[in-house]
Every structure is written in structure tokens, then in C-alpha cells.
Amino acid sequence: MSDIFDINATGKLELDFYFDFLCPFSYQASIWIRDVADLMGTEYVDLRWRFISLAQLNRKSPDWNVWEHKPEDEDTYGLLALLAGAAALKSSGMEGLGRFYRELGRLHHEKKEPLTAETIEKAAQASEVQVAAAYDGSDPELYEILKQNHHEGVEKYGVFGTSTLVFEEKYGFYLKIMPSPPKDRALDIFQHIQMLAMVEKNVFEVKRLMTAEASAELNETVSNPPSTGE
């Protein structure tokens, strides 16, 4: 990574990936951005998983906050998984959260398992992280992590949906990717997006047009995304 891109002068490219576990587009983008980070290497890239609650983004009342509710309350879709993610982060760090997201994403989006405690526990075991505090309510800090991540995404960057990728704690881009691109296209796509995000300040949006046929095909891919194995 050349120095001109190292805007915050850390010697690395910081990537904040804002997601909600339940979003199928986030999951596909997460597979891609993980490929990118693997290809570029940890000495160059610091990929950080950040929470955004779609239930909060879509809330009906300005006084209603998902982090003031229990996961079993109405309209809190995705909350239990987000709290479990926060627990994974707390117990096993960013790397642990990344492992947990991969497992939970695969179970939920590829194997169609609901985001229940049972599925979350399965993902936690497979990724070797501790998430029990998410259901027993013993750790209020998990709510705080969610609230802080969500606030930062919305207030600092203007995040309006998932996934949103932020470069160098400064330049955000909402991404809609489906399915995750083949590995040999991963870096090329990343570089296009990085240049448009960080350098080309005049470009605000690129949106592929969809015919009815293309939309139907997309819905089919969303329902049956390619398997990542295991």
C-alpha cells in the first residue's frame, strides 16, 4: 500500500467493515473483503468488523433504541446475533469475531439456520469463541459495544445500510455485492472501489441496472448463495 493512501499515518490500510449478521449482501461482501485482506496480508491491512443494527436503522420512532431492549422483544431482529458478536469480540478479539462471523454467516445464509441461540452456539463452538454472556444478560458492555459501533457508523460516516466499508477511518462506501466475486477478481474490484472511495471525490454512486429477469436471478442467488464448504 503506497503511503499516499495511508491517510491516518498508521503504516497500514485500516478497513472498517460495518455489517449486520442477518444481511445476505453483507455476508457475501464479507467473504470478498476477507479474500482481499488475505491477499494483501496483515502487515498491510487491518480489517475490523463493526456492528450496524438494521433493526435500529429501520426503527420507526426516534426514541426507540435496539440497545435498550432484550433480544426477545419485538422488532429487535438481529440483536441476539449482534450481542453474541460483541461477546466474541470481547472474549477473542477482532480475529475471533471474524471467525465467528464466518461460521455464523455460513450457517445462517448458506444452511438456512435461524439466528437463534442454538445456531449461535454452534457457530461459537466451530470458531472457538465464548458468547454465553450474550444470552444470560450478564454483561452490559456488549450493548455498549453495539451502541458505539452503530453510532460511529451513522454519525461519523453517514452509514445508511449494510455492508459499508470505511477506508482509513475516513472514506465510506456502501457495497451491494452478490455473490462474492471469484478470488481472481477480488483485488481488482477492491482497487476500483478503493480508488473511487479515496481518490475520486466526484463519484457518488454506481448502480447496476436490473431488468425483471436480472432481479429474479438475483433473488435466486440471495436465496441460494454459493456454498463455501464445510
Binding site: 453517514g158 462506501f173 474490484i189 480508488m195 454512486e205 454506481v206 448502480k207 447496476r208 431488468t211
Partner: protein
């Protein structure tokens, strides 16, 4: 083809075809047009930039029985209709390149000079810049030449039915790969090709990328509004 690799020449025409769908009243389409014209000038004969009609007044109407091409030009609900009718006459008489010139002139008058695009004089001035004399437009203004209604209907319908267009600018590569692009303002000339190549690759090659959109803080939104305002020259 010299500039564009042969494998991207999907329709085997030996050129890169780009259809640019515009409505003269859209500020984003105007900035993108200025950018794409620069790109086309750099590519030269290898790129065929074709100017196409798309009506925002039509797409924003939810009533399927209402058609802008059945309205009276200049009406409150058909503010861009005169521009399409005159544009058609320019195209019929002098071809696609003149149409591009007319569109860019009229858009400049509208977006930069705050001129009334339903004024016959303004429309004639823009046509004049594209090499068409006022006399040659007499049949359009008298209502005798109705070819513009038909062209607008067919191009708008093509954009919606074939590509799924929902706004402008819509840019179609090789009559196949289409994307909406939001640019403001026109990029610096030395960035024009770079942006074009990234946009082309995402649209033509990387089909898994459906949408990328900059999230905007309140300050960033204000900055865009200020840019649009600054494009308008002081009267």
C-alpha cells in the same frame, strides 16, 4: 479497436458503443455528459457515444396511462418536452454528434446560466451552437414535425424495458451492460479516463458488484448542494 480490448467488443462492431440516456434538466446527467464527452474525445474513432432520451417526468409518474409524449410541450408536467422535440430535429438534420453538442449547450444554458429551456429563443440558440439555424426548426415549433414525440417514446421505452433504467444518467456499454452513475461535479480532465476505466470494469466485467454508494454526512450533503449552486454562474 486500439483503446478497448477486443474481448470487450461484445456486439462485434469494432467499436465501444456507449448509450448515454439523459434528461436536460438533470444536473448529474449534465456533469456526467461533460465527463463522458471528454472520454469520447480521447478515444476518438474507437468509441461511439450515442445520446439517448430518457424522461424524468415520465419515470416519476406512477400513472401507467400517462405519457409525456402525449402532452403539450412547455406544460408544467412536461418541462423537458420541448428540449427533446428540438433535439430530435437537430439529430434528424445533423446526426448524433450535433445532438450531443445541442444537449450540452442547452444543459449549460439551463444549469449554468439559469435560462428558460422552454423559450424558443433559448432552444434556437442551443441549436445554433450545434450548427442548426433557427429556420430549420420552424416545423418543430409549428407542430408540423412530430418526430420528436416518437423518438422520445421509443428511446425512453427501450431504456426501461431493455435495461431497467430508473433515472439519469444511465450509461449502457455495448448495448448490454447498463449502470446508473452519480457524479458531481465533472471530474478533473486528468482523472477522466481513470474513472471511466474503473466504471467500465465494474459495469462490464465485475457483475457481482451491484451497487456502490457513498454514505453522506449532513456536511457532505451540504457540500454537494453547494457545488450544484456554484455551477450556476452569477447572473
Amino acid at each position: 479497436m486500439t483503446q478497448t480490448a477486443g474481448f470487450m467488443d461484445f456486439n462485434n462492431s469494432g467499436k465501444l458503443e456507449i448509450d448515454f440516456f439523459f434528461d436536460v434538466r438533470c444536473p448529474y446527467a449534465y456533469q456526467a455528459a461533460l465527463w463522458l464527452q471528454e472520454v469520447a474525445d480521447i478515444f476518438g474513432a474507437d468509441l461511439d457515444l450515442r445520446w439517448r432520451f430518457f424522461s424524468l417526468e415520465q419515470i416519476n409518474r406512477k400513472d401507467p396511462a400517462w405519457n409525456i409524449w402525449e402532452q403539450a410541450p412547455g406544460a408544467d408536467t412536461a418541462k423537458s418536452l420541448w428540449s427533446f422535440l428540438v433535439a430530435t430535429a437537430v439529430k434528424n438534420q445533423a446526426g448524433n454528434a450535433a445532438l450531443g453538442k445541442f444537449y450540452q449547450s442547452l444543459a449549460r444554458m439551463y444549469h449554468e446560466e439559469s435560462k428558460d429551456i422552454n423559450s424558443q429563443t433559448v432552444l434556437e440558440d442551443a441549436a445554433n451552437e450545434a450548427g442548426i439555424k433557427a429556420e430549420a426548426l420552424a416545423d418543430v415549433f409549428s407542430g408540423k414535425d412530430k418526430s420528436g414525440y416518437e423518438l422520445l417514446a421509443s428511446e425512453h421505452t427501450l431504456a426501461v424495458d431493455k435495461y431497467g433504467a430508473f433515472g439519469v444518467p444511465t450509461i449502457v456499454f455495448e448495448e448490454k451492460y447498463a449502470a446508473y452513475l452519480k457524479l458531481m461535479p465533472k471530474p478533473a480532465s486528468d482523472r477522466a479516463l481513470e474513472i471511466f476505466q474503473r466504471f467500465l470494469m465494474i459495469t462490464m466485467i465485475d457483475h457481482d458488484v451491484l451497487e456502490i454508494k457513498k454514505p453522506m454526512t449532513a456536511e457532505q450533503n451540504q457540500a454537494v448542494k453547494d457545488t450544484i449552486k456554484a455551477i450556476k454562474k452569477e447572473a
